[in-house]
């Protein structure tokens, strides 16, 4: 077939092979990678300490705490939905773990297990409510966001009498759990927080699922064309519920880190973080309308956040400017992504 096909292909200008560069431009991550390189260069120049191994370790740690959530949130957004409860869900997960351990047993693993089940149940609640009612996920998760915020504060006050939980540092299993969720490892002479490994595992799993499994095909499909997906037999409801469970799993990992890093949990934490996760996913090339994006892009988006938040400190700027930089970067990255996509489509 090749001979005839090639000769015919040569006659048709539209069948010219795409250059590797154009292939690269077609990737959703490109905007975020360019942005990350720019941010890195800026801080490498203006902040003397930025390039030291210790500083980079701090940057990676900051990126990982956002990235563990940004990656599943990106998958959810590719599937066409939001989760505004993602930020406080982390706190809820930590609180449940801490309070179950403290009130009912003296072993932290019980709390960790109960917390996993309870956090997944919250994700399941979001997903089932969404698929059963057909309401916009913005409304449903805004509801769970407010409810969880209230429950976090209310239950903590009710049980411990203050706004924070009691320390669980003296309980059985604490050192092992701390090693798993909040330790520092020495890898080839570099001090690396264990969350970085969780983050990398999350990226690898999400990318594998997204690009190489049937579920990944379905995630793109339910976000890019729900009715079309349903018409060809894609289990739309199951896919969306699965995505909410993914976010819940991320919230559980983040929550356990929060707990075992500080021994106590502040009940008011997490509010506003959901928008940072969404911003990281959008910087990473996720479309707000769904059906397009990448887990690696979201991870790079988280890396930009990490570099900015720590870079400002290393550059000895007033950290109050942080949010402004983030907002400007979100807009710039989104515009860059838009521009790249238009160019890619125009020159294809």
């Amino acid at each position: 077939m090749s001979a005839t096909v090639e000769s015919i292909a040569a006659e048709d200008e539209r069948l010219l092979p795409r250059s590797p560069l154009r292939r690269l431009i077609g990737r959703p991550e490109l905007g975020s990678v360019l942005g990350a390189v720019a941010v890195f260069l800026v801080f490498a120049v203006v902040a003397d300490n930025f390039l030291r191994a210790g500083s980079l370790g701090t940057v990676l740690y900051a990126a990982s705490t956002i990235g563990i959530m940004a990656v599943p949130v990106a998958l959810l957004m590719i599937g066409g939905e939001f989760d505004l409860s993602a930020g406080v869900m982390v706190t809820s997960s930590a609180l449940i773990s801490s309070m179950i351990s403290y009130e009912f047993t003296a072993n932290v693993w019980v709390g960790i297990g109960v917390s996993l089940v309870a956090t997944l149940a919250i994700g399941l609640f979001n997903g089932i409510l969404l698929t059963r009612t057909g309401l916009p996920s913005f409304i449903i998760t805004l509801g769970t966001f407010l409810m969880l915020t209230g429950l976090n504060l209310g239950f903590t006050k009710l049980i411990s009498g203050t706004v924070a939980t009691k320390s669980i540092a003296d309980m059985d299993g604490f050192p092992a759990a701390r090693a798993l969720f909040a330790s520092q490892l020495n890898i080839g002479g570099f001090a690396v927080q264990v969350t970085v490994l969780w983050w990398i595992a999350m990226i690898a799993a999400a990318t594998w699922i997204l690009l190489r499994t049937r579920a990944g095909n379905w995630i793109f499909a339910v976000g890019g064309g729900r009715d079309a997906a349903r018409a060809v037999g894609v289990p739309v409801e199951r896919t969306k519920i699965g995505l909410y469970l993914g976010v819940a799993l991320g919230a559980w990992i983040s929550g356990q880190h929060l707990l075992f890093n500080y021994n106590v949990v502040q009940s008011g934490e997490g509010v506003g973080n959901e928008l940072i996760y969404i911003a990281a996913a959008v910087i990473g090339g996720c479309l707000l309308t769904g059906g397009y994006g990448s887990a690696i892009g979201a991870a790079v988006g988280a890396l930009i956040f990490g570099m900015t938040s720590k870079g400002i400190v290393f550059a000895q700027w007033d950290p109050n400017w942080f949010k402004f930089f983030l907002g400007a970067m979100l807009l710039a990255a989104t515009l860059l992504n838009l521009w790249i996509r238009r160019r890619a489509e125009a020159t294809r």
Binding site: M1, F220, A221, V232
Partner: protein, 316 residues
């Protein structure tokens, strides 16, 4: 693509001549030179046409509350034949499609698949019986690559357990090969399907239905939103599917397109049968006249002529 209406179009050749690697694996015969017999009756499949119909609707009715959407409509679909369903907006074409596709159940009458009476409970059941419906929106996700769309919902996998993964190599090569057979040479199956032309998307949808073992292909207004050339491309795919031995139901409001490929014409009007003709029995003019409602069209023409201001190139 070069001129789609030229039967000697060289670009259409590879479709009829799959190379040594392009296997005849799925049990579907290779389309026999689809480019040349667009209008000619398919003599080579006459044998198939005399057997049990693939699909038969006898006096099928459907009511939505007190609205009679479909009233005693009969229709026969045979292998290697194109049955055209013609009708204006609101004639009941969509209802008919929904019954055949398994989205709605009929209220009265008999629905037979391979001679056995059936009531379809779901689109999935229709698919399992080999009835594939290509809707106007084509059930495609514009941002997804062609190969992902092609296999969406029925993705082949390799490996087991957590290593179970998409058979990407096979998905890409099958997509390419299947489209090549349809006469579409896509160099890059990675391009989002939204970047293909309307006719190409229709062709991908038809190729997908054929690949997944469709015996009856139901096409809902496949040429409605297309230009003349693109419509020609799609009609050629319809002919190719027919020659591959599929029974085709072509639902359209365009008698010109129907007359080009149809072996049988069923006319619907206000949910009821308004005509039932074999290809030899009716001319294009007569088909057009009947479809447009005969005297109504004459009346409309009369009205419009009187209303139009006299211009330099007017006949009167």
């Amino acid at each position: 693509m070069t001129d789609a209406n030229d039967p000697r179009d060289p670009a259409a050749r590879p479709a009829a001549e799959p190379g040594p690697t392009a296997g005849r694996t799925a049990g579907v015969p290779t389309p026999a030179d689809d480019a040349n017999d667009l209008d000619a009756p398919a003599d080579d499949v006459n044998a198939a046409a005399t057997g049990t119909p693939l699909l038969e609707l006898a006096a099928v009715s459907k009511h939505y509350g007190n609205i009679r959407a479909l009233e005693e409509v009969s229709l026969t679909v045979r292998a290697g034949r194109v049955t055209c369903v013609l009708g204006d907006n609101g004639a009941g074409k969509s209802t008919l499609i929904k019954i055949i596709a398994g989205l709605h159940r009929h209220d009265a009458g008999v629905f037979r698949v391979d001679g056995a009476e059936t009531t379809l409970a779901s689109p999935r059941q229709a698919l399992e019986l080999g009835i594939a419906t290509v809707y106007q929106d084509l059930a495609m996700v514009p941002l997804m690559p062609v190969w992902r769309n092609f296999f969406l919902g029925s993705e082949p996998t390799v490996g087991r357990g957590p290593l179970r993964r998409l058979d990407v190599r096979r998905m890409r090569s099958t997509t390419r090969e299947r489209l090549l057979r349809m006469g579409i040479d896509l160099r890059d199956v990675d391009q989002p399907i939204g970047t293909l032309s309307g006719g190409e998307r229709q062709s991908v949808a038809i190729a997908r239905a054929v690949h997944f073992g469709a015996r009856v292909l139901v096409l809902d207004e496949p040429t409605a939103a297309l230009g003349v050339k693109q419509a020609g491309v799609v009609l050629r795919r319809v002919a190719a599917a027919r020659d591959a031995g599929l029974g085709v139901v072509l639902v359209t409001h365009n008698p010109h397109h129907a007359h080009l490929v149809g072996d049988h014409f069923v006319l619907l009007k206000r949910g009821a049968m308004a005509g039932d003709h074999a290809a030899g029995e009716i001319t294009l003019d007569e088909l057009t006249r009947q479809m447009a409602g005969g005297s109504e069209l004459a009346e409309l023409g009369h009205e419009l002529r009187r209303a139009a201001p006299p211009g330099p190139d007017s006949d009167e």
